[in-house]
């Protein structure tokens, strides 16, 4: 599945909710169901700055695709991390770098989250792209 397909699915999932309480409920479900990150990756260097809650983001590269896992001490933040992982995980560095994060605007997330949380989300996306960039460089050196 292309990144765009995943994000379109996410958009349509959110469209069925009329009010924000339902959207939050869904985010909470997503948060609770986020596959756990390996405890050994919950380290300082994987911590993302700019969140009132703490977020750890870990990335692995199998030579072709980047694989992300994440965790947070706040469930809604975890839900957002889950969305981002569904969109960006298991794609090539180039695909990740080419993708846009507009879908978060479309589901209204950037507007409805408090600035701290929205900054946190932007930091997560930035971090995801940084990993992609790093792995792309690695790939280029390897080839």
């Amino acid at each position: 599945m292309k990144i765009e397909e995943s994000t379109n699915t996410i958009i349509s999932e959110f469209e069925i909710f009329d009010d924000w309480m339902d959207k939050y409920n869904y985010l909470i479900e997503l948060g609770k169901s986020l596959p756990l990150i390996d405890e050994k990756f919950k380290i300082e260097s994987n911590l993302i700055q700019g969140c009132q809650s703490r977020v750890w983001l870990h990335a692995e590269f199998d030579g072709t695709n980047v694989h992300f896992t994440a965790d947070s001490d706040a469930v809604i933040t975890k839900g957002i991390a889950n969305l981002l992982i569904r969109a960006f995980s298991d794609h090539t560095p180039q695909e990740i770098l080419d993708s846009s994060s507009d879908f978060l605007n479309e589901i209204g997330l950037t507007q409805h989250l408090s600035p701290t949380r929205s900054n946190g989300m932007l930091s997560m996306i930035k971090q995801i792209k940084m990993y992609a960039l790093a792995f792309k460089a690695k790939q280029a050196m390897g080839s």
């Binding site: 924000w20 309480m21 939050y24 409920n25 909470i28 009132q52 809650s53 703490r54 001490d73 706040a74 469930v75 809604i76 933040t77 408090s114 949380r117």
Partner: protein
Amino acid sequence: MNSIPGNPDLSFDLEKIRADFPILSRKVHNKPLVYFDNAATTQKPQVVIDTLVEYYSGMNSNVHRGVHYLSVEATSAFEGAREKVRAFVNASSTEEIIFTRGCTEAINLIANSWGGDNINSGDEILISAIEHHSNLVPWQMLCEVRHAKLIVCPVLADGSIDLEVLAGLMSSKTRLLAITHISNTLGTINPVKEITKLAHEKGIVVLIDGAQAMSHLKVNVRDIGCDFYTFSAHKVYGPMGIGGLYGKKDILTAMRPYQGGGEMIKNVTFEKTTFNDLPYKFEAGTPNVSGALGFGAALDYISRIGLDRISAWENELLRYATERFSADPLIKIIGNAPQKSSLISFLIGNIHPYDAGTIIDQFGIAVRTGTHCTQPLMNSLGIPGTIRASFAFYNTKEEIDRLMEAIVKVEELFL
């Protein structure tokens, strides 16, 4: 008419009071706003807003040294506001009231001007474990520059201070005790008069951070006996960008100026400058005249209602909220000092405060979540933060009921 159990004399017309605050009729997320973030900043009554409008529409001018009518009028209004602050805290003279940008700046002014001359290598500054960053970081910075030591008095499990422990930490090296009157995180009301007495017996200068106290209880600096008392107007129903400090005249007189510029000088040559008299010595630059007038109007407003009435109702709100919260086994109240102001910090099960706050907000209820600028306290309690509901005299029991509904929803969603 709201009623204070057992104290009919202290009743007031809550509906009428609420009508004084235009923001209270606004809706948030399609629900009537419930504003429980009063410890962060209070809402403004119409008279305060009107004061700003009247000032800018009819009197605005730069003050002092002006011969023209507007300047004369603005100057006397500005100095009149200073007199209102003086009377409100019962200082001896307006020379003892310095206007600053707010409480944080007031503490920094003291750290810089008093601290620069009175804190030396090896000296100690004593604070408590519940201080706001604004009454902690300036002392950390000062200690670093002057090679002094910051001593932190721990608090008891209920959030109150053990006076014996505090007295035990006052050594012959202690130069300053800087302590809050009311904790913005736990609500603890410290016995500042007794504390000041203890410190003065050992010759220690006392600064009381009054940011949280001035709106809740009758402050009397001469009765407390402290050397400095600091405050912010925006936490006492006044405008932002203004606040100040009380300082004993002889101490202020001995202090070096803070910032340099207009207003704070008497005579300037390129070679030598003589500084102005109190309080102007510490007020460099064009003052925030409108802010001072708004501050004065806010103090007039709450004085008219009466601090005794205000605190009676706030105590009743605290009692009611505590009762309701305590009935929910999932809620854990953080801070249970015997003397407590009208705020409750709490946790719901193991739900992250940030998660809870996000959902509570959807109910149109403004609570604050996080560390409330008291990170070290949170660290020592081993929690990432709390949810804090802080009440003002315009809040109602029905609003507390609405908060309880929201909390139940939070429990449903996360647990």
